[in-house]
Symmetry: C2
Subunit: 562 residues, 2 copies
């Protein structure tokens, strides 16, 4: 069948990519792109940064325009029009002109759905109050911006400590608002494991953000002319502005009403060519269900980078090409004031939930050579399928060089690399950029040491569980006396500096379980080697060391972050 007419629903990331690509695949096809809002292809991901003024001009957010799409791509971009129904039998869409209220019809040979997603609205009272906002569209942002300009709010509460919530928090705080986060989970950024998220929590605390974790939103009120957020733990937070960012859901009403198949995640089901259960209908962007390439299971990936790839593939494939989008590793990154926080693949918690028996290891090398000025620690947690050694995920946090490492991990995970095979990578080294042993290489070496049987790591939560259960073991702090003065030992630890370990062996019992730790885990690993080679049968090392021990409350996180 010759495709004469392509209709696209949605004109932002997925839709606009599809339209431009489709035109590059055919000069003849008629392309009509419907966008509900007034603008096409704007910079969604830049919206939080516009609130603070980091992005200075609104026009910077407008990547392109309907006029440009008409001129360059001969795409009939129709804004202010919502496609409200698909008639698959007669192959047409029913469209509502949002300006006039009138209905229109348009036929199609092929249809691409890219209607995006919508923010989840919590089912609690007060969500319609005038100082309650979302941050999803340019119009949302205009509303907040105008409120910031006109009402000069002093305080903000952000509901949700996920990616968008945290970006909003940073930018509202940069704007000068006293900002509070309310998060239902006991941690921020739930894609991270708890102890990694603790670093983020502490950093935000240092930046003066109020954090209400483990608290659900109960209601929002207006009292005596000021806003009040109530949480399910009895918290009452006065505020001038509430921003709700608890996640998004795919826009699937159109697809559902047209009886297109949805996936288990609630997104529109597509094959790797972005084709829905109707071979003449394709879909792309936040509305679709994607595949996680680590687990092979369906997931939602509401990311601009995903939407662009999917839209490009949908635009081509709707015109007969075969461009595959295999899936996503689950890579995320977020700037949190001075920190960069990133993850790819699975967290330890997610790996366990998926039925893996994960090995979690931690390293904290400098982001570049220590002797070159400005080296900052990069905190890395790798999650590996213990038996096979296959890397499942990595979490990376630090001030510098985080984005680089997570991209290398994402590439390695895509290739199903084993943790220890990271050692084989030839990563770029010069002192301003890396160390002779790059942090990723060190993560690989630490893994290889494990798989060679050179040490037996214990993670902080395993050690904490042992402590809490009152198990009997010997805990040895192998740091220097000076370090011990700066940050005291873990409860019950015996102090034997690493360089005295050989001479003070008589203080230890080769038959007893012995757990060593130092600041970061490298010296205790060496201690582990010494003891194991001298006949100690049950030696373990605290992976990541004291820097990774978050159980002493804020002082621990503070000292670990120093």
């Amino acid at each position: 069948m010759k495709v004469r007419k392509l209709v696209i629903v949605g004109g932002v990331a997925g839709g606009a990519s599809a339209a431009a690509k489709a035109r590059r695949c055919s000069e003849e096809v008629e392309i009509i792109m419907y966008e509900k809002g007034p603008d096409i292809s704007y910079a969604n991901c830049g919206l939080p940064y516009y609130l603070s003024g980091v992005i200075k001009k609104r026009e910077d957010l407008l990547i392109t325009s309907a006029e440009f799409f008409r001129r360059r791509f001969q795409v009939d971009a129709r804004t202010g029009r919502e496609v409200i129904q698909i008639d698959r039998n007669s192959k047409k869409v029913i469209v509502k002109n949002l300006n006039t209220g009138q209905m229109e019809e348009e036929s199609y040979d092929r249809l691409i759905l890219a209607p995006g997603s919508h923010p989840i609205v919590p089912p609690v009272p007060g969500m319609d109050l005038p100082f309650v906002f979302y941050l999803k569209t340019l119009e949302d942002t205009d509303r907040i911006f105008s409120y910031l300009q006109n009402k000069n709010p002093r305080r903000a509460v952000v509901i949700g400590g996920g990616l968008i919530g945290i970006e909003a928090v940073e930018n509202l705080a940069l704007k000068g608002l006293e900002t509070t986060v309310v998060e239902l989970a006991p941690q921020l950024l739930t894609f991270l494991d708890w102890e990694m998220a603790e670093r983020v929590r502490w950093h935000m605390h240092q930046k003066g953000i109020n954090l209400c974790l483990s608290q659900g939103l109960q209601s929002v009120h207006e009292q005596n002319g000021q806003g009040l957020v109530r949480t399910d733990k009895g918290g009452e937070i006065p505020t001038d502005l509430v921003l709700v960012a608890i996640g998004v859901r795919p826009n699937v009403d159109l697809a559902l009403n047209a009886d297109l198949e949805l996936g288990v995640t609630g997104g529109i089901k597509v094959n790797e060519f972005m084709q829905t259960s109707d071979p003449d209908i394709f879909a792309a962007g936040d509305c679709i269900e994607t595949m996680n390439v680590v687990t092979g299971k369906p997931v939602l990936t509401p990311m601009g980078s995903a939407a662009n790839k999917e839209g490009r593939a949908a635009g081509a494939n709707a015109l007969g090409r075969r461009i595959a989008v295999q899936g996503f590793t689950g890579t995320v990154i977020v700037k949190v004031f001075d920190l960069t926080v990133a993850k790819t693949g699975l967290s330890e918690r997610e790996a366990i939930a998926e039925g893996y028996s994960p090995l979690a290891l931690y390293v904290q090398p400098g982001h570049h050579a220590g002797y070159y000025p400005g080296s900052k620690p990069v905190n890395i947690k790798t999650v590996t399928e213990r038996e096979s050694g296959r890397l499942l995920g990595a979490q990376v946090i630090g001030e510098e060089g985080v984005d680089k490492r997570v991209d290398v991990f994402a590439t390695a995970i895509y290739h199903q690399m084993r943790l220890e095979d990271l050692l084989q990578l030839d990563l770029a080294y010069a002192p301003p950029y890396s160390a002779a042993r790059d942090p990723v290489i060190i993560a690989g070496a630490v893994g290889q040491n494990y798989y060679q049987g050179d040490w037996d790591p214990i993670s902080p939560h395993e050690l904490k569980a042992k402590m809490d259960a009152g198990e009997s073991f010997v805990l040895v702090d192998v740091r220097t006396r000076l370090e011990l003065q700066e940050r005291g030992p873990l409860p019950g630890a015996l102090h034997i500096p690493i360089d005295l370990l050989r001479r003070q062996l008589q203080k230890l019992d080769p038959e007893k379980e012995t757990i060593l730790y130092c600041a970061q885990g490298f010296r205790s690993y060496f201690g582990n080697r010494i003891l194991a080679m001298r006949g100690f049968k049950r030696v373990k090392t605290l992976s990541g060391g004291m820097d990774n021990w978050m159980y002493e409350g804020e002082s621990a996180a503070a000292q670990a972050t120093d």
Copy 2:
């Protein structure tokens, strides 16, 4: 055989790594490490940065000490001693005490050779003059540093425009010296292709560095109390200081005298376990021959990052382990003032020399979202095996985000990825770190467009050759009038702005070869699509556009760099 005694020749990167790893593999083995110089394990790669004061203190270069190796690792680190002979039959080494001149003997069960490399000394007069220096060891650096302090030189000539030469140039210039580079090749950094190296040349020129390319060193003189460098092109460069950095050669005298097998590159031949032709002798670091994982051919890899991996493997394997170092992708990176210049795999020139038929493509996206402040272009050249689509190499130059992209390419090349499969990578995206389409993703998309037959790229040197040969073709500039005013057209180009192309088709002849270009290649690619789909049979696009056209001398490089 139980290994009771391990002797290591060399105590810097390879040797020190080997010693520390060996101790972690055995508490019992006696380890003796010989180092010719006074210090072990210093920061070779930091030496240039100490000259300028970027690295402030000499002690920062001393990563560890002989005393530390004794205390922590029970390694008998013997400095100021040179191993001058190996007696393989009786398994002993002959050692010269450089302080006393006395000879000593030491037996070994296993031996690790890590004597490093030495700078190549050009066979020309004047190399022994007191103001001629090398930059290989800490002692070399001390000599230059003391000369800088005491003689207060104003001018420097650096012989060699390779990695070390360029690092030296930057740091001597930062120190305030008027600096000149003399390079035999017609370009700097010969691991790059010429047009990429032009960006470096221009940047160095902007920074006030004098560049003498295509000039060999003929001699160095002292005349009337000042230095003079003469080149084989008749150049005479007065100077106060000469730094020679034309490369290094592996130190193989010991190995050669002991009849150990050398490789074709002149390095000591080892298997992937770092074992030489004598199973009791291992080798690591600059002295060995390694494998290039792209070509599968032997190469020298005199890099600190390589030496660390090899030393670690040698130390373990000498004690019976089996740790492999498969080889290297050939990744290099260098800071050149505000630029970062990096490469992994093969350049186009190298690929041709290796017998490949390469496809060279260029992209120049921003290092992060254009709407987020501070976005800088990343210039990427990918080199791909044309038929299979396998990525062979990537060159990356820019001010920001270069190290990240080259590491992703290095990881991709290690996995023998096809260029277009880069599109499948799930790279971290948030506006401060990347764009919705990361530069690596764009490189993949551009490759996929090629393999889908959507465009026919022509590289700058192919176009130049056509021009020089006086071939008949139509050259079309599809930029805007404003751009054309800012940087004029290529010779003979017809101007048809992209958005007028469809309407002005009559100006072109579908039967004639038609070559399109714009600033960077994206609009001309779209023009290529338009013409091809409208019946033009021979359409080509200049990959990388005007920004990649370096044939107009400095003005071109200047404008391309702006």
